[in-house]
Amino acid sequence: MHYAIVDFVTDIAQNACESGASRVGIVFSEDDERVDVIVEDDGKGMGAEQLARALDPFYTDGEKHPGRKVGLGLPFLKQAAEQDGGRFRIRSEKGRGTAVEFGFDKRNVDCPPVGDVPGMLLSALCMPGGHEMTIARRRGSLSYEVSKSELIEALGNLEEVSSLTLLKQFLRSQEEG
């Protein structure tokens, strides 16, 4: 099970980046009481039956890992959110994309720690794939938006460690408000 809320976001964002999407969007909002996240993509999506089965931990489409019997990403998230007084919702359409929305109630004693948000955004922005990624971040009165294309334009290849170091510095500075 993931330790922090940002780990769930990394996991779902990684799915979105592998979905064949041309656009991936992440919205990460929080205040003193709640954390609300949306991860959406315009990738391959799922039909109704496949979507229902995606929430079963003992189901996987077998494409990523032939022979495997489990698929834990979405079921872990649903369980964690719902058992802590939060919420979980997924919408998906075959050929159109998927949107995962979830929230955690920070006042609940079982709510996981939020974790390192700029660190998570760094990892998400640098996931491989030719897609555009937009990120909207809000924390109380702080808010900022960044997109993968503008960062590539400023830094070049984001996978180079020299770019990663600067991007990390940039994202941390955005959190300063």
Binding site: V6, K64, P66, G67, L72, E160, S162
Partner: protein, 131 residues
Amino acid sequence: MARMTLDELRALRETKRQDLARRDVEGKDIQIIVGMGTCGIAAGAKLTFDALVDSIQKHGLESKVIIRQTGCMGLCYVEPTVEVVFPGMPTVIYGKMTSDAAEALVQKHLVEHALLDNHIFDRPAADILKK
């Protein structure tokens, strides 16, 4: 630290690029691939990713190394996993790569050009190799 603008980021990039150009003799031929599947993330792969970035910078190797992320490499029992592709050395998949182990990996594999003992788990499991 004040919030940085994209223009400031660009300017910083230019300054660093000039610094790095002087050192950039061998090209970017070292690849490090971090497993970011559900299993990897649950085991702390994001901390490993951060530790690798910091440690590579500390050793002044940032102009030579590319860090990629991938899904599960098929070695869920020894996550976090990190694959290292280094010219002239065998390609190795390391397991149980906590952030401490990641620092040891940079020192041993990238700096000393030797393999890091007790963390070698070789190639991915056969079930995930692409045909």
